[in-house]
């Protein structure tokens, strides 16, 4: 995998992970082009597309797009499930994860990703083992603080995995 981007339906970048050396300028250019391309696609279109000499695999969970760029010989379907496993990990860690969790705890999202993928390859695919590693690290930390309880519910707080119910997602889209 060459990079992974998480961005919102409004095109705001929420997380970026680059596994190939690129300048900041190139990264920004790629992000801009790709966000535009993916957002322009209609629902129900297939999750894969050719882009430059890469294959893009993306999937939308509630308000957030998860988007991976892989190389020619890489497997699209297994990449789609990499995305899903990452969502599951976030969900398990945060408990019904939503976009706000990733905004306010971006560093945690990075830590979980590093335990799961390293150098663009799956490092540990067992959900239990990844979470064990993260929880061990958390044990080393000070007391936990409640962060954003009390924010008004919005699309951002829509849980990703609940929205796997496709119809729900579309209802949401229309409401907005």
């Amino acid at each position: 995998m060459q990079f992974m981007l998480l961005f919102s339906r409004q095109g705001k970048l929420r997380l970026q992970k680059w596994y190939v050396p690129l300048s900041d300028k190139e990264k920004k250019k790629i992000t801009r082009e790709l966000v535009q391309t993916v957002l322009a696609r209609k629902p129900k279109m297939c999750c894969f597309l050719e882009w430059r000499d890469l294959k893009i695999v993306y999937k939308r969970y509630a308000s957030l797009y998860f988007c991976c760029a892989i190389e020619d010989q890489d497997n699209e379907l297994i990449t789609l499930e990499i995305i899903h496993r990452y969502v599951e990990l976030l969900d398990k860690y945060f408990g019904s994860v939503c976009e706000l969790d990733i905004i306010f705890n971006f560093e945690k999202a990075y830590f979980i990703l590093d335990e799961f993928l390293l150098g663009g390859e799956a490092q540990e695919t067992s959900k239990k083992n990844v979470l064990k590693a993260i929880e061990q690290a958390d044990l080393l930390q000070e007391a936990s603080v409640c962060l954003h309880a009390g924010f008004p519910p919005s699309v951002l707080s829509e849980s990703f995995l609940c929205s796997l119910d496709i119809a729900g997602v579309f209802r949401r889209v229309k409401l907005d």
Partner: protein, 939 residues
């Protein structure tokens, strides 16, 4: 309700993030950020030492600001300080900041490396993992230098924790990708391979990515991984869905590991050991069988994971390309997916079938799905799926279905998405040419193409139709008739006018017998389009008119009238004006005989690979979509520029020649007119089509002996009554030295003796040549020596030119020769085993990587002579590789400064037929073609 965050919170950070989110405008956001940056800066600069928590909080804020898209130019030092904190969370934030924000050439890298070194040595697995993650995330050369030696040790040490091993394996992979020269596996190889047997599935999952990458580069050293991978795969495939506990994903056992194992096996040919191979075939069959079983879950994750393995297995089957049974089963499976309700599966099935179509075993099976694919092209709602369908139709096309496929693609083109039209046009043009049984069909197809999608028809396409019409006299009459009809349309595309103008100018006489297309009607039809066209097209039409005057004397007065009109002869465009003036003059002063010679029909073009194919290959290359247009434009420019250069060079030589071409003055079309076959039409446009063949040897250059030096380095390059030139040369890697010996055969001194070596056109950037000066006098009977140093920068096609000038008895002598520097001179021979040879041969399987020629023997077919020639070529002659002992196979690497190009060669003599078949494969298409061209003249 929003979730509650776990772990360590930073109140200040959360408040800052909320503030940013509450900003109503971009300006407000920037204001808030600047305020925060000022605050952090003052804290970092302040006298009071910050505690770890505050440092962590501020560094994290900076990170957040950076991720919002703003530049951050401070805080690095504080982040580095955090690395040496003994509080885990502080260390972790420090590492995150470094991973995201420190680029490789930062001067901080030494400090960072120090902190990493300490953590790696700490024996605390959590710290070690953090350090390894950081190395993997940054992956710079400096880090490789510092840690590439240490990490393999951590990876294979008996007492390393599993999680650390996993990080170490992938960390090493990243370093290997950035700096392969620094990661030396050597002694560790076998222990790394044996990680495939590790009890911990996570360790295997991580290690296999490393092993796959290393195997691609050093297949021989890692080949023991094949049997290990097969047995691991077999255990997973045959396990029940619950056996692997947490490594089972939605009832699919270890899907990621299975895919990676299948991917690793694709680095190797089928296992030679029968037992291993049997086991593997069994696995593949089981995977295919499972696809037919009812799903264990309705969740899409289940079917995705299962099908991911299936597609990877099919890739392996295609890679082996040796099990007809499996290939056909794979094809049937993909056929089912073609009609699946999941768009993703339809997309992947189309993509995967494209590769199946090129296997001889499954090509026919793929063809049976033609109707489904055509309907996909028509009905799929997603353009990326339609694109795949078009690709597959192109791949499955052969003589039997070409007409149907071309017709479908043409009708699709009428409504096709703009983004894929140009590529579709190229594909149709290629198929039409490749499978044309009768050329009238070809002409119809291309003209249809111009009619339907004229804007997307690039110059290559219409050049090509003209080349083909000119080279095939059986289609010329039909072509003339068809363009004539096409031009009747009230609005036709300018490309149609170009083709029409050119073809009627050459072959209008073939239809002039019909009163409906009499010469005058033809002319009026062309001229009715004239005013709507751009300058280059008008220029082309003017050339067509002068050709009309030659073909049909009865049109002369009408056309002269047109040329004489103010709008032509006083046209503000210099090119048009010049043509009008010159053609008018030419038509009035030249006799019919002269006209007939000057405006003779174009000679056939040399047969060569379609330039359209080259264009498609380029399009498919890594070029970004957005730059495609610019590239096209630039290329167009170069093509014209190149043509001009070619003509100028020819002109220069002609004017330098001691006996100027007699036609030069007569033509008077240019101050220094080109000579040879390009002369008659002197219009740069017509010449374009012609000179697109690449700079052919300009007349005046002698190259009789050039080919004799392909397989040898020493000999006599040139000899006439006055002068003899001998050559001695030696080459090493991408460098060469050539000694030229000029011998004065007369008893009189040569004066003003000078030589120069030039690299025409593109060669300038491909060869670097330095020639030492020679003395300006050569005494009678004496010999002078000149040393030439050659550096090969990139692979090249043309030869440098050597020009020699001197005076002998008052007369100026001027000789231009091709210097025998050919691409094969930079060969480095490569010895390899039979297995290696065929494996590499198979890897170079793209059609453009191969060049092949079948030709008649020019000399006796003596195997010793052949061997000597092949050795002279510079390659290694490989014994006992080809199963047929009559055949010769060779291998070598061409060394250029820019890259190395591996080449494989096979020469198959057929003594009965007195023929040879020569096949070359290399990683670069131009190299294969050039070598094939050079070598086919040698035997």
């Amino acid at each position: 309700m929003p979730a509650v965050s776990k772990g360590d919170g930073m109140r200040g950070l959360a408040v800052f993030i909320s503030d940013i989110r509450n900003c109503k405008s971009k300006e407000a956001e920037i204001k808030r950020i600047n305020k925060e940056l000022a605050n952090i800066r003052s804290k970092f600069k302040g006298d009071k030492a910050l505690d770890g928590y505050s440092k962590k909080k501020y560094v994290c804020k900076l990170l957040f600001i950076f991720l919002l898209g703003h530049d951050i130019d401070f805080g690095h030092m504080e982040a580095v300080n955090l690395l040496s904190s003994n509080k885990y969370t502080e260390k972790q934030i420090g590492y995150l900041f470094i991973s995201v924000l420190v680029n490789s050439n930062s001067e901080l890298i030494r400090l960072i490396n120090n902190a990493i070194k300490n953590d790696l040595a700490s024996r605390n697995p959590t710290f070690m993992c953090l350090a390894l993650h950081c190395i993997a995330n940054v992956g710079s050369r400096e880090m490789a230098e510092a840690f590439a030696g240490e990490i393999p040790r951590i990876l294979v040490a008996g007492d390393t924790m599993d999680s650390v091993k996993q990080s170490a394996a992938l960390c090493l992979l990243r370093l290997y990708k950035t700096s392969p020269d620094l990661v030396l596996m050597g002694e560790w190889t076998s222990r790394v391979v044996h990680l495939l047997n590790d009890q911990h599935m996570g360790v295997v999952t991580a290690a296999i990515s490393l092993i796959t990458c290393l195997s691609q580069k050093n297949p021989e050293e890692f080949k023991t991984c094949v049997s290990l991978a097969v047995s691991r795969l077999s255990r997973i495939v045959s396990s029940a869905s619950t056996d692997l506990q947490d490594y089972t994903y939605y009832f699919v056992p270890a899907p990621w590991l299975s895919c990676k194992l299948l991917r690793l096996l694709q680095c190797y040919p089928p296992p030679e050991d029968g037992a291993v191979k049997g086991r593997l075939v069994e696995c593949l069959e089981t995977i295919l069988n499972k696809a037919q079983e009812p799903p264990k879950s309705k969740k899409v994750q289940h079917s995705n994971a299962k099908n991911a393995i299936l597609f990877e297995a099919i890739s392996l089957i295609i890679h082996y390309d040796s099990e007809p049974n499996l290939l056909v089963r794979a094809c049937n499976q993909l056929g089912q997916f073609l009609q699946h309700r999941e768009t993703n599966l339809r997309y992947l099935a189309l993509e995967s079938m494209c590769t199946l179509a090129s296997s001889e075993f499954s090509h026919e099976a793929v063809k049976t799905h033609i109707e489904t694919v055509i309907s996909a092209l028509k009905t799929e709602r997603d353009v990326s799926v339609r694109q795949r369908a078009a690709d597959l139709l192109y791949a499955m096309c052969d003589r039997s279905n070409a007409k149907q496929i071309v017709a479908e693609m043409l009708s699709y083109l009428e409504t096709a998405d703009y983004s894929i039209r140009e590529e579709m046009v190229l594909k149709v043009a290629i198929l039409a040419e490749k499978y044309a049984v009768d050329y009238s069909w070809y002409v119809d197809t291309i003209l249809n193409l111009i009619r339907i999608a004229g804007d997307y028809v690039s110059e290559e396409v219409w050049y090509r139709v003209i080349q083909i019409v000119i080279n095939r006299d059986d289609v010329q009459g039909y072509a003339a008739k068809t363009v004539f009809e096409a031009l009747q349309a009230p609005a036709c595309h300018e490309n149609m006018v170009k083709v029409g103008g050119y073809i009627l100018g050459e072959f209008g006489n073939l239809i002039a017998g019909d009163p409906r297309s009499s010469p005058l009607i033809q002319f009026n039809l062309l001229h009715s389009k004239f005013h709507l066209c751009s300058v280059p097209t008008r220029a082309l039409l003017l050339s067509a008119y002068i050709k009309f005057i030659n073909l049909f004397p009865e049109t002369k007065s009408t056309i002269q009238e047109v040329l004489r009109s103010d709008s032509q002869i006083r046209n503000s465009d210099v090119e048009l004006q010049q043509r009008a003036v010159e053609y008018l003059k030419l038509s009035s002063i030249a006799s019919t005989d002269v006209l007939a010679t000057v405006l003779e029909e174009m000679p056939p073009f040399p047969e060569r690979e379609s330039s359209i194919l080259a264009k498609l290959k380029k399009k498919k290359g890594p070029g970004a979509v957005s730059t495609e247009l610019e590239e096209g434009k630039r290329d167009g420019g170069e093509l014209n520029g190149g043509a001009e250069r070619g003509v100028d060079a020819a002109a220069a030589i002609a004017s330098n020649a001691s006996t100027p071409s007699p036609s030069a003055d007569l033509l008077g079309l240019r101050s220094a007119p080109p000579v040879g076959s390009a002369a008659p039409s002197a219009s740069s446009l017509l010449v374009d089509v012609f000179s697109e063949a690449g700079p052919t040897a300009p007349s005046g250059v002698m190259d009789d002996n050039f080919l004799r030096f392909v397989c040898k380095n020493n000999g006599v390059l040139f000899e006439n009554q006055l002068l003899q030139i001998g050559i001695k040369s030696e080459y090493r890697q991408n460098l060469g030295r050539m000694y030229l010996f000029y011998g004065n055969k007369t008893s009189v001194q040569f004066v003003s003796f000078s030589t120069s070596v030039s690299c025409p056109g593109e060669l300038q950037s491909e060869l670097n040549i330095q020639a030492k000066q020679v003395e300006p006098q050569v005494e009678g009977g004496a010999q002078v020596q000149q040393v030439i140093n050659i550096e090969c920068l990139a692979d090249f096609l043309e030869a440098p030119l050597l020009n020699i000038k001197f005076r002998y008895g008052g007369a100026l002598q001027n000789i231009t020769l091709k210097l025998p520097v050919t691409i094969n001179k930079f060969f480095q021979p490569t010895e390899m085993s039979s297995q290696d040879f065929f494996q590499r041969w198979k890897q170079l399987n793209l059609p453009q990587q191969e060049a092949q020629k079948i030709f008649k023997a020019k000399n006796a077919m003596d195997s010793e002579v052949l061997k000597a020639k092949l050795l002279g070529l510079g390659t290694a002659l490989l014994e006992n590789v080809d199963p047929n002992p009559e055949n010769f196979v060779c291998a070598g690497v061409i060394q250029t400064k820019a890259q190395q190009v591996g080449c494989l060669l096979r020469l198959e003599p057929n003594a009965q037929a007195q023929m040879y078949r020569l096949t070359l494969r290399s990683s670069k298409d131009t190299v294969s073609r050039r070598l094939c061209e050079l070598l086919s003249e040698q035997f």
